[in-house]
C-alpha cells in the first residue's frame, strides 16, 4: 500500500490484517519503489494523488521494469480522465475514497489472484522454455516442422533423413516437452512463440 496519509495507511493495514491478508505499507512511492521486490507475490494498492510521483507514474515505472504487479487504485478524486488513463494502463480496479471494505477486499483478492495466476503462468512458461532450451538444435528444427503440421515423411524428405529418424525425434520431443499429443505441442509452441517452419502457413503473428 502506498498512501501519504499515515492514518489511512494504518486503517487499511488493520483492515487487511483483519481480512487475513498481509499488508505492507509505504508512505511514499519512492519508498515503495526502493523496497519493491518483484518476486514477492501480491498486489499494489495505490492512491493516485501522491506527492512526488503520482500513482499513474508509479504504474508506468513498474511497467518499464517489466513488473506486472496488478494495481488497485483508490483515490479521493473521482474524475473521469484519471480513471480512463488508469484503466488504459492496465489497472485492475479503481475505487474512490472512502472505500468500502468489501469492495476493497474483493478487488485486492482479485488482484492477488491475478498476480498468482500470472506468476503461475510465468513459472509454467519458464519451465517450458527450459525444456525447449534443452532440445538439440536438430530437434528444434524437427519441432518447427512438426508443429507446421507436416507428415513425418515430408519432414524426412525436407531435412534429408529417413522417416524413422523423424519418428524417433518426435517421440523424444514429446517426452522432453512433456506433452502427450500433437495438439498440445502445437499449443506449447504457440505459447512459446515459435514460428512454424515451411511456407504453407499463412498465419500471421
Amino acid at each position: 500500500m502506498v498512501d501519504d496519509d499515515p492514518s489511512v495507511l494504518r486503517a487499511l493495514c488493520r483492515l487487511f490484517l483483519a481480512a487475513k491478508l498481509e499488508p505492507r505499507a509505504f508512505p511514499s512511492p519512492a519508498a515503495f519503489l526502493q523496497a519493491h521486490d518483484p518476486a514477492t507475490p501480491g498486489c499494489l494498492v495505490l492512491d493516485v494523488a501522491l506527492p512526488g510521483l503520482d500513482g499513474l507514474e508509479v504504474q508506468k515505472a513498474l511497467s518499464f521494469s517489466e513488473c506486472t504487479r496488478p494495481i488497485v487504485f483508490i483515490t479521493g478524486r473521482g474524475d473521469i480522465p484519471t480513471t480512463v488513463r488508469a484503466m488504459k494502463g492496465g489497472v485492475v480496479d479503481f475505487l474512490t475514497k472512502p472505500v468500502n471494505d468489501r469492495d476493497l477486499l474483493a478487488a485486492v483478492r482479485n488482484a492477488i489472484e491475478i498476480d498468482r495466476a500470472a506468476r503461475e503462468t510465468q513459472v509454467e512458461m519458464d519451465a517450458m522454455r527450459q525444456r525447449l532450451a534443452s532440445l538439440t538444435p536438430r530437434k528444434r528444427e524437427v519441432l518447427a516442422h512438426v508443429v507446421a503440421g507436416r507428415l513425418n515423411k515430408q519432414i524426412a524428405a525436407d531435412l534429408g533423413t529417413v522417416e524413422k529418424t523423424i519418428k524417433v525425434h518426435r517421440a523424444r520431443i514429446m517426452e522432453k516437452m512433456e506433452v502427450r499429443s500433437l495438439a498440445d505441442l502445437v499449443r506449447l509452441a504457440e505459447r512459446l512463440g515459435l514460428p512454424p517452419a515451411g511456407g504453407t502457413s499463412s498465419r500471421t503473428s
Partner: protein, 756 residues
C-alpha cells in the same frame, strides 16, 4: 482764605498788576480829555426837522467832517433837532428852548449852526437866552427864505439857489416825448420874480415845447389845473410863498400837495422839495452845502466876524431824483444823466434785506456745504466701508444661503447662534434652538462621546472633523459631519466654539452599502477560490473519512473474529476519533473561509497562517505536481489581522503561483513560501515562484480590478487582495526574481503589543 505764610500764587499777582495799569490809563485819559478841555470848540447844530431825515444826516456828517479836517483845535459838535414839522407851535419851541438852555448850561457854545428856516428862526429869536453873543451859521435856506427874514445879526450862511433850466433838462431826459412844460409859481413878489426869470430862461424851448405858466393861481384852482394836465407834460414847481388868494405858504410844504394833485411828473429846484413828491431836479447837494457851511464855520471859529463873511452860495449842484417818483411815473432810471444823485431809493427786496438775504444765503450755503460735506463723507465712508460691507455681505450670504449648517455654542453645548440651514435641518425656529444644548439633538448613546469631543477641541487649537448621529425632525436618525474650532477672545481663552457641519446621511448610507458590497465581493472571491480548491478540499476531507471507514470496518471484522483483538479495536477507535476531529477541523476551516462576516482583527502568527494555507492547498499542489517549500522565520512577532482574510490573500497568491509554474515540466514546478521581519519592523510574507515572471507591460496593471490573464477569470483577485492588505495597514506588491519567476510580498505591521 490764604494764610500769610503761603506765597502768593501767580494768578493773583497778575491780576493786581493789571488793575494798577488800568487805573493809570484811566487817570491819564481823564487828564488828557480834561486837559484839552480848554482847547475844544463846541458847536451846536440845530436842525429844523427830525434826526432821521437823510438830508440832515448828510449835512451834519459832512459838516463834521469838514470841521474836523479843517480845525486846528478839537471840535465837539452837538446836534439837536427841532422836529418843527411834526411839533409846530410855540409850546414846543419853548420846551426846546428850555431844554437846550439847561442842557448846554455848563457847555459854552462857540458857534451856532442852523439847518433850515425853522431852525434859523428859532435860533435867531432865542439865541440870547441860549448862548448870547455866539455867532451863527445857517445853511439849507434858499434865497426866498432869506429875503423874507433878512440875515440876522452876527450871522452868515449858505444860501441855496435854484436852476430851472437844468431841471428842465433833467425832465426832458426822463420824458423825451414831453410836449408841454408847466411852470408853477405863486403870487408873491418873490414868486413872480422867479416866474419872470423862468420865462426868460425857458424861452429857447418854446419852439420845441409848449411852455405854460400857472402863476398866481389860488391853490385849489392850481391843483385842479394840475390834475387835468394832458399826458406828456412836465411840471416844474418853483416857489409859492403866497397863492392867488393871498394865503401864505411855505413852498416846501406845498410840494406834496402839488405833486399829489398833478397828473404829470413834477420837478422842483430845491433840495428840500426832494422827497415830498417831486421827481427831482437840478439842486444843490447837501454835502456841498455842508462843506461850504463848514468852511464858514471854520473861519468864524478862527476868529473872523460873521459880518465880514456875507452869505455865500454853493458852487456845486447836481441832478437829484427821488427814486420813488421815478417808479411812480414809470420813468427809466437809465435815462438819467450821469452822476445823478438818486435819493430815496427804496432798496429792492434784495437791497433792503441784503443783510438778511445774505445771511440766509450764507446759512443756506453753509447748510448745503454741510450737507454736501456730510453726503460726500457718507459716500466716502460707504466707499471705504464697501469692501467691509461687501465681505460682511458675502459672509452673511455664505452663512445664510448655503446648505451647510453653521452654529456657535458654549462648551456645554448650549447654542448661541444657528444659521438658516441649521434651523431648516432640524425643522425648528431659531428661538427654539438658541439657548438650548445641541446635545439634545443627538441620540443618547452618542452624547457622552460628543461632549468629550468638545473638550478635546477646547484643549487643542485646531479644528477637528467629527461624525455623529442626530435625531431628525421626523424621528429618523441621520448622520452629520462637523468641523469645529474654538473661538478665542483677545486674552486667548476660549469663549465659544464654532462648528460647520453637513448632513452625510446619504454619504454614510452609500458608504455602508459600498462596504457591504465590498464584503460580498470579498466573500464571493473567497468562495470562488475555495471553489477552485474544491477538489483539493474534498480530498482533504476524504482522507480522514477513508481512514475512519476502513478502521471501523476493520474493527468490525476483528470483533467478529475474536474478542482478544480488543486492544487493536481500542486503537482503532482512538484513530477514528482523531480522524473524525481532523475532518471536523477541515470543515471548520472551510466554514470559516466561507463565512461572510465582518473582519475580526486578532493577533496572528503568520507562520501558522501560512502553514494552514499550505495545508488547504496541499491536494491542489499535489495534483498539479507543484512542489512547495517553506522558509518560515522563527520568533516573529505577531501581526494584527483577520485570519480568514489573510488566508484568502495567501491562498490567492499561492494558486496564482501554481498557475505561473504550470507551464513548466513536472519536476520543475516549484514555489517557496517564506516569512521574515524586515528592517522597518514589518512582517513580510512572500510567495515566490519559478514561473516565467511578470511581463513588463502587465506590471502596472497587475493589481487593477478586472485585469486577468485567465480565460475565465474575473480579475478581481489581486485587486481585492490589495484592498484587504490595505485595510490591514499593510502593502502588497510584486517583483520579478533575478533568477526567473516572480515574488509577491505582503508587508504587515507588527501588532503593537508584540514589539519588544
Amino acid at each position: 482764605m490764604r494764610r500769610a505764610s503761603e506765597p502768593e500764587s501767580r494768578d493773583w499777582q497778575l491780576w493786581r498788576r493789571a488793575v494798577r495799569w488800568l487805573i493809570g490809563v484811566a487817570i491819564l485819559t481823564f487828564l488828557a480829555t480834561n486837559g484839552a478841555a480848554a482847547d475844544t470848540k463846541r458847536i451846536l447844530m440845530l436842525f429844523s426837522n427830525d434826526s432821521l431825515l437823510p438830508a440832515g444826516n448828510a449835512v451834519a456828517s459832512n459838516f463834521q467832517r469838514t470841521l474836523e479836517a479843517g480845525s486846528p483845535e478839537r471840535v465837539e459838535i452837538f446836534t439837536e433837532f427841532l422836529d418843527a414839522d411834526r411839533f409846530p407851535g410855540p409850546a414846543h419851541a419853548a420846551r426846546m428852548e428850555s431844554l437846550l438852555r439847561d442842557k448846554y448850561a455848563s457847555s459854552p457854545i462857540d458857534l451856532l449852526v442852523a439847518g433850515g428856516p425853522q431852525a434859523l428862526d428859532f435860533l435867531a429869536q432865542r439865541r440870547a437866552s441860549l448862548s448870547p453873543g455866539t455867532p451863527l451859521v445857517f445853511a439849507g435856506i434858499n434865497e426866498g427864505s432869506i429875503a423874507q427874514r433878512g440875515v440876522p445879526p452876527n450871522s452868515t450862511g449858505i444860501v441855496s439857489r435854484f436852476d430851472p433850466v437844468r431841471t428842465l433838462e433833467l425832465a426832458l431826459r426822463l420824458q423825451p416825448d414831453a410836449r408841454q412844460v408847466v411852470v408853477v409859481t405863486g403870487a408873491s413878489t418873490f414868486d413872480q420874480r422867479w416866474d419872470a426869470v423862468a420865462r426868460e430862461q425857458l424861452a429857447p424851448y418854446a419852439d420845441r415845447l409848449e411852455v405854460t405858466h400857472l402863476s398866481g393861481l389860488p391853490l385849489p384852482q392850481l391843483l385842479d389845473e394840475l390834475a387835468r394836465l394832458p399826458p406828456r407834460t412836465i411840471v416844474i414847481y418853483l416857489t409859492i410863498f403866497e397863492d392867488g388868494t393871498g394865503e401864505l405858504f411855505v413852498p416846501r410844504d406845498l410840494t406834496a400837495d402839488i405833486s399829489a394833485a398833478a397828473s404829470a411828473p413834477v420837478y422842483g429846484v430845491y433840495e428840500t422839495y426832494l422827497g415830498r413828491g417831486i421827481v427831482g431836479g437840478y439842486m444843490e447837494s447837501f454835502e456841498a452845502i455842508a462843506r461850504e457851511a463848514g468852511g464858514l464855520a471854520l473861519r468864524i471859529l478862527a476868529g473872523e466876524p460873521p459880518e465880514r463873511l456875507p452869505p455865500g452860495t454853493v458852487d456845486s449842484q447836481a441832478f437829484m431824483v427821488d427814486w420813488r417818483q421815478l417808479r411812480r411815473w414809470g420813468l427809466d432810471e437809465a435815462k438819467l444823466p450821469p452822476d445823478t444823485i438818486v435819493r430815496f431809493e427804496e432798496p429792492s427786496l434784495w437791497q433792503r434785506y441784503l443783510r438778511e438775504i445774505l445771511a440766509v444765503i450764507a446759512v443756506l450755503v453753509l447748510q448745503s456745504a454741510l450737507i454736501i460735506a456730510l453726503l460726500v463723507q457718507r459716500r466716502w465712508r460707504r466707499f471705504a466701508e464697501a469692501p467691509l460691507r461687501e465681505s460682511e455681505e458675502r459672509y452673511r450670504n455664505v452663512v445664510e444661503t448655503q446648505t451647510e449648517l453653521i452654529c456657535r455654542y458654549l462648551p456645554d453645548s448650549t447654542l448661541t447662534f444657528v444659521n438658516d440651514a441649521y434651523c431648516r435641518y432640524f425643522g425648528r425656529g431659531r428661538d427654539e434652538l438658541v439657548g438650548r444644548p445641541f446635545i439634545e439633538l443627538i441620540p443618547e448613546s452618542e452624547r457622552a462621546a460628543a461632549l468629550e469631543h468638545i473638550e478635546a477641541i477646547a484643549q487643542s487649537s485646531r479644528g477637528d472633523n467629527y461624525e455623529h448621529q442626530v435625531v431628525r425632525p421626523d424621528g429618523s436618525f441621520g448622520w452629520q459631519q462637523w468641523t469645529d474650532h474654538p473661538i478665542r477672545n483677545a486674552e486667548g481663552s476660549m469663549v465659544e466654539l464654532q462648528g460647520i457641519g453637513r448632513d452625510i446621511t446619504d454619504l454614510k448610507i452609500a458608504n455602508m452599502e459600498v462596504e457591504q458590497r465590498r464584503k460580498e465581493v470579498t466573500h464571493l472571491t473567497r468562495v470562488a477560490i475555495l471553489g477552485e480548491l474544491s477538489g483539493a478540499l474534498a480530498h482533504e476531507l476524504n482522507q480522514p473519512l477513508t481512514a475512519i471507514l476502513s478502521n471501523a470496518q476493520a474493527a468490525q471484522r476483528l470483533l467478529a473474529r475474536a474478542p482478544s483483538e480488543l486492544p487493536m479495536v481500542s486503537e482503532i477507535l482512538d484513530d477514528i476519533v482523531t480522524d473524525d476531529l481532523r475532518a471536523g477541523e477541515v470543515i471548520t476551516r472551510l466554514r470559516a473561509l466561507l463565512k461572510k462576516g465582518e473582519a475580526t482583527f486578532e493577533p496572528l502568527d503568520l507562520n501558522e497562517v501560512a502553514t494552514e494555507v499550505l495545508a488547504l492547498a496541499r491536494s491542489e499542489l499535489i495534483e498539479r505536481h507543484v512542489t512547495a517549500s517553506t522558509r518560515l522565520a522563527l520568533g516573529l512577532p505577531r501581526a494584527l489581522g483577520d485570519r480568514v482574510q489573510l488566508q484568502q490573500v495567501m491562498l490567492n497568491l499561492l494558486l496564482n503561483a501554481c498557475e505561473a509554474v504550470s507551464s513548466k515540466r513536472s519536476g520543475e514546478r516549484m514555489l517557496t513560501v517564506s516569512t521574515a521581519l524586515d528592517g522597518d519592523g514589518l512582517l513580510l510574507t512572500s510567495i515566490a515562484d519559478r514561473g516565467s515572471g511578470i511581463p513588463s507591460d502587465m506590471a502596472d496593471r497587475l493589481f487593477d480590478a478586472f485585469f486577468t490573464t485567465k480565460p475565465h477569470g474575473l480579475g478581481l483577485g489581486l485587486s481585492l487582495c490589495r484592498s484587504i492588505i490595505a485595510s490591514h495597514g499593510g502593502r502588497l506588491w510584486a517583483d520579478n526574481n533575478p533568477d526567473g519567476g516572480a515574488t509577491f510580498t505582503v508587508a504587515l505591521p507588527a501588532h503593537s503589543g508584540e514589539l519588544s
